[in-house]
Every structure is written in structure tokens, then in C-alpha cells.
Subunit: 247 residues, 2 copies
């Protein structure tokens, strides 16, 4: 028995990178949904199997490719007839095109979701920020997804220096993956401060470990930050609310 | 392509009742797992599709049975070759036997997990608590799963009165389902206080909405509480750590 029709909404979360970021996205989907009872919530199936080769190491040429495991996960989600697939891991978007080609269900790109969120914010102001600070892995920075989209808004991107990556971003990110949110948050808070000091008017937290870590240390920079995981959650909720054939 | 062998651990979460309780269980599985990197975490697939008829209403005879939707969810999880199924909703355990019969993967009962947790706590003390306060839905209270297990430890059960159910438990629980954790937490805190006033030495929070709500109001009764969702998370982690064939 299958309780849904093929055109119904069922959000597939390709998660586990890390599992905390998966839970964080699911929590944000709940927070962003207007509900009065359980049944109003977005239907989600989350594949959170963290035994995927490290994405940062693969892109640095020091580890195996995660692509076979990612393709397997996409296959499993499609077996459940998901309507859309989202990936709460920016770095994994390096393999986005390869996954989208193999998936029956369309994938929603986290940078597209972020740009929608940023564009809505900008619409309410006189103009786009002239400089946007981008906190992301080497892989995400090198891919250029965010920088290209920011340029389309007329905004320049401020990225961390190589030294900031080595001393603040990378150790901060791996501290979060070990569950040490306070330690990770303190390092990432210092990185946010550096970008603001260099003129960033907004920050885009384009690694899904960053927003939970800054929240853990109650960072004052959250107020000027765009959280791509929340933007992705909002995209999922919009799909659900606009669906005429809810379950 | 399937990335796991049939004997590998993959925890299937039959969730969505409500979705917050599902996220809460996933968060607790993460917290309870000793890790140094993403890949050490428990592999989980969560079916969080909240379009399941209300369990409390079904048991009260005022709503449709959730069994067809629950069976469909069990079927979907089995299609992904999960090794175990857990249900982060106490009331849904009313249909546990019917689901277990139809499932290839074994189901872990939340009251068994709770008893294991309670037995470990008791082992470290001189004797079992003489009175355990049980916060649960009418359906869970009527089923007797917890009371029978507490009696096996030599502990009596203190349940809320019918008036406390109507004025504190039910409105508190539905407030959480609407996302109003502060309001729900305040009501459930008062219920916890009543049970302690009547002599409960420990509280078992046998409705998965209760622990997150008490946490939201920083309830002082959390220190004497057993959270069945955390006990269930610990069971999942033990399965994972004892597996010789991790992914």
C-alpha cells in the first residue's frame, strides 16, 4: 500500500553530512510551517546515513569520492517516490549535477534557495548589500555557486583568507562534527567578526555546520546572517503550501 | 546499488507523530553516540510523514484508525532494508503488535527501552523508587505497558487524575503540536509538580511531546525524569555500537 499519489509532495532529505545538519534542516522545516496540528506539517523522509566519504577531503584530493554513496542515497529516496530532494550540505552540491541527472525527483539547489531568500530581503530595502561575507568550505568557495549569484544581485563577495580558513573555519567546522558546538562556535564567531570588520554587510553561512554553531554561542552576527539551511527549509515549505494535492 | 549488506545496522524511524518528536529522537541519537567524525554516527532513515490520523482521537473513538497509514510507513521503511524500526510516539504503540507482525525488521518497543534505562538507574541505587509518576496520553495509560513494567521493578505507578488530564496534559500536549512550546511546557510543568507533590520519586515522560516542552521551560523536574525518547535513542546507539558489520 502506498499512501500518496505520484504528484503529492514528499520532501526527500539526502542527509547525514553531518547528521546534525540534517536534524537542523528538519527542525527549520517545522519552524517555518504554519500549523495548527500534526497533520499540517510537511511530509519528509530523511536519509541520514553518515557513512559517506568526507566531502572536503575528496575535493582536496586526500580521500575517496562520495559520489557512489550519494547516488545510492538518491536511488533510495526515489524508491520512496519523493517529489523533491534537498541536500543539507553545501559542499555535497559539488556533485549536484551528477545527482540531478540520475534522479527522477528534481533536486533543489541550496544556493538557489539562498538567493531567493536574499532577494526577498533586498526587495524590502533600498539596495542590495555591496559586500556579502561568505563562510563556506574550500570546495564551496572554489565552486563559485554563491559568488556568481551574489554578483547577479550587484553584490561583491568577501571570502575568508587562506589563513582564516586554516585557523578558524576548518577547525571550527570539524569541532561541530565532533559535537563540540561551543568550541566550534567560538572559532566561527571570530571568523564572522573578521568578515564584518572588512566591510561585509551580510553574512551567508554556506556550510550547514555554521548556523547551529553560531546559535550555540548566541552570536550577535546571526542578525545579519542568511542561513542557507533555513532558506532551503522555506523552499520545502513553499512547495508544500502551494501543493493542491496534499496527502 | 545498495550500499549496505542485509545484516548492517540501519535504524528506521517511523515518525511524524508529531514531527518535532521525530527530530527530538534523531537529535538524541546524535547526542548519545560517541563520535570523532561524521562517519561514526548511527545510520538512520526517518519517515516523518505527519498525515497519519490522530492517535488519541482514534483511541477515543472520535477519529479514523491510523493503522493503515502506520502499516504503509512500515512497508516503506522495510523497502529500504532497515535493520530495526523505532516509533517516537508512545500512543502509536497501541498498534505495535499489528505493525511488528507485518514488519520484516524487528520493532523496538519504547517501554522496553525505558525499562532498560530505569533498571540501569536503579542498579546504581539501593532500591527502585516506590512510586513512579507516569505522564502519558489516555491511550498509553489505558494500555498499561508502563505500569506492568514498573510493577516488575517493585514500583507503583502514579498517573494523572482525569481532571489533570483534561486541564493540563491534553492542552499542554496539543500546544506543543502547534509549536507553542512555552505554553505547553508551562502546563506540563504544573502536571509534573502535582505528581511529585503526591509522592512520585521519578517521572516517566511517556509522551514524546513532554520532554521537549519541559526542556523549553527549563523544568526542574527533568532531573528526576526518565525520557523514553532518550532511552529509545540509547537502544539505537547500543545496536549500532555492538554491530560488527557497520556500513
Amino acid at each position: 500500500m502506498n499512501i500518496r499519489t505520484d504528484s503529492a509532495i514528499l520532501i526527500g532529505v539526502l542527509g547525514g553530512m553531518g547528521p546534525l545538519a540534517t536534524v537542523d534542516l528538519m527542525q527549520k522545516i517545522i519552524e517555518e510551517t504554519p500549523v495548527s496540528r500534526d497533520q499540517d506539517h510537511v511530509p519528509v523522509v530523511a536519509w541520514s546515513v553518515p557513512q559517506i566519504p568526507d566531502r572536503q577531503q575528496a575535493l582536496a584530493g586526500t580521500g575517496a569520492s562520495p559520489l557512489p554513496a550519494l547516488l545510492a542515497a538518491v536511488g533510495q529516496l526515489n524508491r520512496l517516490a519523493v517529489s523533491h530532494i534537498v541536500i543539507p550540505c553545501n559542499t555535497a552540491h559539488h556533485w549536484f549535477d551528477a545527482l540531478a541527472t540520475e534522479s527522477r525527483a528534481p533536486l533543489i539547489h541550496i544556493a538557489d534557495a539562498t538567493l531567493e531568500s536574499l532577494a526577498r530581503t533586498v526587495k524590502n530595502q533600498v539596495q542590495a548589500p555591496s559586500k556579502i561575507g561568505l563562510i563556506a568550505t574550500h570546495g564551496t568557495l572554489a565552486a563559485g555557486w554563491y559568488q556568481q549569484r551574489f554578483a547577479g544581485l550587484g553584490s561583491a563577495t568577501l571570502a575568508p583568507t587562506e589563513q582564516e580558513m586554516a585557523t578558524l573555519f576548518v577547525p571550527g567546522c570539524y569541532a561541530v562534527k565532533r559535537g563540540e558546538l561551543q568550541q566550534g562556535g567560538a572559532l566561527l564567531e571570530r571568523l564572522a567578526q573578521r568578515l564584518v570588520d572588512r566591510g561585509a554587510e551580510r553574512l551567508v553561512l554556506a556550510c550547514t555546520e555554521v548556523a547551529p554553531a553560531l546559535a550555540a554561542v548566541k552570536s550577535r552576527w546571526l542578525d545579519v546572517s542568511i542561513d542557507p539551511a533555513r532558506a532551503l527549509a522555506q523552499c520545502c515549505v513553499r512547495q508544500w503550501l502551494s501543493s493542491e494535492r496534499r496527502l
